[in-house]
C-alpha cells in the first residue's frame, strides 16, 4: 500500500517536472527566436557586388504622330491664339430656309462654364468662307481631305460680317437673312486677341450650338432633323495652325493624333540585372490646356511602330500628373524597363500622351483635343540597377 502511494506521488512529481521542463523549453525557444540580424558575414560569400549602377539613356526615336489633324469631329471648338499657334472656328448651317419667317434668328454658341475649365475672353471677327470645305476633313492646310486651300482657310477678309466676344456661357450671333448663302457656305471666326475659348461643338450633346427664331412673343428652336418645319443643321470645326517646332521639339497632346512615340536603346544595359528604378524624364512646355494640371500616361508598344496603326498594351505602363506651369514630367516604369532588359527583342518603345487618350471611346480617340504642349529637348531614361547574384555553383568543373 505504501509502495503504491509512493509510486503515485512519484508519477505526479515526474509529470509536473516534465510539464515544467516543457514550459521552460518553450519559453527558451520563444526567447531565442527573437533573433537579431545585423551586418555580418557578407564578405564570406565572395559574390554579389555591392554597387548600384546608374545609366542615362537618350531616345533613339522620337516620333510625333501628326501635326495636322482634322478636328471637325471634336467635341470642343477651340478658338484663340497665342505666340505659338492660332485656332480658328468654321461654322456652316445647312437649311435655314425658313429664316425669313421670323423677325430675327440667332445662332447660340455655348461656352464651357468657367467653373468647368479655365479659359479666356476671346473676340472673334467673322468672315464668309469662300471655298467649299468639309467638316470632317478640313485642316489649316486642307479644305477637305484632298483639297488645299489658303493656310487657315479661304475667306473674304474684306467682308466682315460681324464681331462677337466669347465672354459668357452663351454667345449669340444674329443671323441676317440676306447672308443665308454665306451661312450655307460657312463662316470663319478669327480670334483677335491672345487666349483661348472653348465652345461646345455640334458633337457635344450638352453644349452643342443651336438656332432660335423669334417671332413677336414666340421663340422657335430650329431642328436638325431633315424634313422638320424649321430645319437647320449646324456643322463646325476647328482648324489649328501647326506649331512649327524646333527640330528636337515634338508636339504632344491628348488624342491619337498627338501621341508621341519614344524608344530608348537599352543595348548598353548588361544582361541579368535587377532594375531598381527607371524614370522617363521629359522636358515639357505647356501649349494650352483648359485645366491647371496635366496628366500624362505612357503605354508600352506591343509591335513595331506603324504610325496610327501601332498596337500598344492596353494597360497603362506609367503616369505622372504635373502642374501646367511645370517644365518637365517624370514617369516611373520599372517593370517595363525590366521587361525590355530581359527581352530586348520586345523593346518597341512606348507611346506618351496626355491622359485623355482613352477617356471617351464613344467619341473616338482621335477626335479629342483637350490639351497640347511640346516636348523640348531629348527625353531621357534614367535607370539604376544592381546585378543579380552569382550562383554559388557556377558552371564548370
Amino acid at each position: 500500500m505504501q509502495s503504491r502511494k509512493s509510486l503515485k506521488e512519484l508519477k505526479m512529481l515526474y509529470g509536473r517536472s516534465a510539464a515544467s521542463i516543457l514550459v521552460l523549453l518553450g519559453a527558451f525557444c520563444v526567447f531565442l527566436s527573437g533573433c537579431e540580424e545585423g551586418p555580418l558575414g557578407f564578405d564570406e560569400l565572395e559574390r554579389g557586388e555591392l554597387q548600384v549602377h546608374q545609366v542615362i539613356i537618350e531616345t533613339d526615336t522620337v516620333v510625333g504622330f501628326s501635326e495636322q489633324i482634322a478636328l471637325g469631329g471634336t467635341t470642343t471648338l477651340i478658338g484663340g491664339r497665342d505666340s505659338l499657334t492660332e485656332a480658328r472656328i468654321l461654322i456652316s448651317i445647312a437649311g435655314l430656309d425658313s429664316i425669313t419667317a421670323f423677325d430675327s434668328v440667332k445662332l447660340c454658341l455655348r461656352r464651357y462654364p468657367a467653373d468647368e475649365i479655365s479659359q479666356d475672353n476671346v473676340t472673334f471677327n467673322i468672315y464668309p468662307v469662300t471655298a467649299d470645305w468639309d467638316e470632317e476633313g478640313c485642316t489649316w492646310f486642307l479644305a477637305d481631305a484632298y483639297s488645299n486651300w489658303e493656310l487657315g482657310g479661304e475667306f473674304d477678309d474684306s467682308d466682315l460680317i460681324t464681331e462677337i466676344t466669347a465672354d459668357d456661357d452663351t454667345v449669340e450671333l444674329r443671323l441676317a437673312p440676306e447672308r443665308l448663302d454665306d451661312y450655307n457656305q460657312g463662316i470663319i471666326l478669327l480670334p483677335q486677341n491672345d487666349g483661348f475659348a472653348y465652345l461646345g461643338s455640334d458633337e457635344k450633346a450638352s453644349y452643342a450650338p443651336f438656332i432660335l427664331g423669334f417671332d413677336g412673343e414666340d421663340t422657335t428652336k430650329f431642328s436638325s432633323l431633315a424634313g422638320a418645319d424649321y430645319y437647320a443643321a449646324i456643322y463646325d470645326a476647328t482648324i489649328l495652325e501647326p506649331y512649327e517646332a524646333p527640330i528636337p521639339d515634338t508636339l504632344i497632346g491628348a488624342g491619337l493624333a498627338w501621341r508621341v512615340h519614344l524608344r530608348f536603346p537599352l543595348d548598353s544595359l548588361p544582361q541579368d540585372i535587377d532594375i531598381t528604378s527607371a524614370d522617363l524624364v521629359v522636358k515639357y512646355e505647356n501649349f494650352f490646356s483648359p485645366e491647371s494640371t496635366l496628366d500624362f500616361v505612357c503605354y508600352r508598344m506591343e509591335e513595331p511602330y506603324v504610325w496610327r496603326y501601332s498596337e500598344m498594351v492596353s494597360a497603362i505602363a506609367g503616369r505622372d500628373s504635373i502642374d501646367v506651369t511645370d517644365d518637365s514630367l517624370s514617369i516611373s516604369f520599372v517593370g517595363v524597363t525590366q521587361f525590355w532588359a530581359d527581352e530586348p527583342d520586345s523593346n518597341f518603345g512606348l507611346i506618351l500622351a496626355h491622359s485623355f487618350l482613352q477617356t471617351s471611346p464613344s467619341f473616338g480617340q482621335e477626335k479629342r483635343i483637350h490639351a497640347l504642349g511640346r516636348i523640348t529637348g531629348t527625353p531621357k531614361l534614367i535607370v539604376t540597377y544592381t546585378t543579380i547574384p552569382q550562383t554559388r555553383f557556377p558552371g564548370g568543373d
Partner: protein, 354 residues
C-alpha cells in the same frame, strides 16, 4: 514539386539560420553517425533525431543571434541471418543554413544593402550491408545517394529609392558515393577504419528574380572524401571511444577545399537505468574563410540515453562550443533530442510498440 520545396523552405525561414561559415564551400559538414561511434548491431533499431541550435556570431563589433530547430537524422538497422546486417540512414551531410548581411555600400549616389538568407542542405541516403565473422571481424560496405536542395534569398535594398529587389537562387543536388568499413574486436577493444569515396555531385541552379524569369545553370563538383577510424574500449559500466575523420579534397576548380579534420572523444557510463554520455571534439573545416583563414570548431557535450520501457531509448544531449574563422567567432549551443526504438527478434513476440 519545386513549389512544394519552396514552400517548405519558406516555412522553415521563420526560424533564423545559423553558421555564417555555411556560406563557404558545400556548407557545414556533418559526419554520419557510424564514422564517429561504433553502432550496436545485435538488435533492430529505428531512430530519429532532432536538433535545435542557438548561435551567437560576432566579429568584435556587430553581432547576430540565430536559433533553429530541424530534423537531424533518421536511422534504421536490421540484423539479418548469418550475422549480416542491413542499414538505412538519412542524414544531413552538408548544411546550407545561414544569414549574412552587408554593410551599407555607397555608389552612384545610392546606398546598397544586401541581405542573404539561405535554407536547406545536402542530404545523404545511406544504405549499408555489413557482416561480422565470429563477432571478431567486421566488414561493411555502403552506398550513399546525395540529394536535397537549398534556397538562397537575396534581398537588395537601395536606401535612397526605398526600393528592394528580391532574387532567389534555388539549388538542386544529386550525387553518389560509396564507402567501406572494416575492423576487429579484441576483448574490450574494438577498432574500425573506413573510407568513403564520393563521386561527382551535380548541382543545377535556378535563378528566380522579382520578375519571375529563370536562368538555369549546371555545375558539378566532387565533395571531399572521408577517411578515418574509431577505437573504443569497454569496461563493465564504462565505454570510451576516440574517432578521427579526415576530409580529403579532390581536385576541383569550383571550390578550394583544404584537408579537414575531426577528432572526437566519446564516453558512456551505465548508470542504471540511464546511460550517461559525454563528448569533446575539435573540428577543422574543409574550407577556409574568404580571407584564407582556417575555420575551427571546438565543442563539448553531455547527454543521456533514457530507457523507455518496452520501446527503447529516449536520447537527450546538450553541447556547446566555439567556432572561429578570421574575424568571426560563433558561440553555439545545441540541444539534441531523439528516440530510438529497439527490438531483439526471436526473444519477443510483439511487434513494434506492441
Amino acid at each position: 514539386m519545386r513549389k512544394l520545396i519552396a514552400l517548405i523552405f519558406l516555412l522553415s525561414s521563420a526560424l533564423s539560420a545559423y553558421s555564417i561559415f555555411n556560406s563557404r564551400g558545400l556548407g557545414g559538414y556533418n559526419p554520419p553517425a557510424e564514422f564517429l561511434q561504433i553502432q550496436p548491431r545485435h538488435q533492430t533499431r529505428l531512430g530519429v533525431g532532432f536538433l535545435s541550435e542557438y548561435v551567437y556570431a560576432t566579429d568584435g563589433t556587430g553581432g547576430q543571434r540565430a536559433f533553429q530547430i530541424r530534423p537531424e537524422s533518421f536511422q534504421f538497422y536490421f540484423p539479418l541471418p548469418w550475422r549480416f546486417g542491413l542499414g538505412v540512414q538519412v542524414t544531413e551531410r552538408f548544411n546550407l543554413d545561414y544569414y549574412v548581411e552587408s554593410d551599407s555600400a555607397r555608389s552612384s549616389d545610392y546606398t546598397l544593402i544586401r541581405r542573404v538568407k539561405s535554407r536547406g542542405g545536402i542530404e545523404g541516403l545511406r544504405l549499408s550491408l555489413d557482416k561480422s565473422f565470429y563477432d571478431k571481424v567486421y566488414v561493411g560496405v555502403g552506398y550513399e545517394r546525395l540529394f536535397g536542395g537549398a534556397w538562397e534569398r537575396w534581398e537588395s535594398e537601395v536606401v535612397e529609392l526605398t526600393e528592394t529587389t528580391v532574387d532567389s537562387l534555388l539549388y538542386h543536388f544529386g550525387g553518389n558515393g560509396v564507402w567501406g568499413m572494416a575492423g576487429f574486436k579484441l576483448g574490450p577493444v574494438e577498432m574500425r577504419g573506413f573510407y568513403a569515396h564520393p563521386f561527382g555531385l551535380a548541382v543545377s541552379t535556378e535563378v528566380q528574380t522579382t520578375r519571375d524569369s529563370a536562368i538555369v545553370d549546371s555545375a558539378s563538383c566532387i565533395p571531399p572524401a572521408e577517411l578515418g577510424g574509431i577505437i573504443t574500449c569497454s569496461a563493465k559500466r564504462l565505454e570510451l571511444g576516440l574517432a578521427y575523420i579526415q576530409q580529403v579534397p579532390a581536385d576541383s576548380t569550383l571550390f578550394s577545399f583544404v584537408p579537414g579534420h575531426i577528432i572526437q572523444a566519446n564516453a558512456g557510463y551505465r548508470f542504471d537505468p540511464f546511460i550517461l554520455t559525454g563528448k569533446a571534439g575539435w573540428k577543422n573545416w574543409y574550407v577556409e574563410t574568404a580571407s584564407g583563414s582556417p575555420v575551427s570548431d571546438i565543442y563539448v557535450g553531455i547527454g543521456a540515453r533514457i530507457p523507455i520501457k518496452a520501446y527503447g531509448y529516449g536520447k537527450l544531449e546538450i553541447s556547446g562550443g566555439l567556432r572561429e574563422g578570421g574575424d568571426i567567432s560563433e558561440y553555439h549551443v545545441e540541444l539534441r533530442a531523439g528516440l530510438e526504438f529497439t527490438e531483439i527478434w526471436g526473444k519477443r513476440e510483439r511487434m513494434w510498440g506492441g
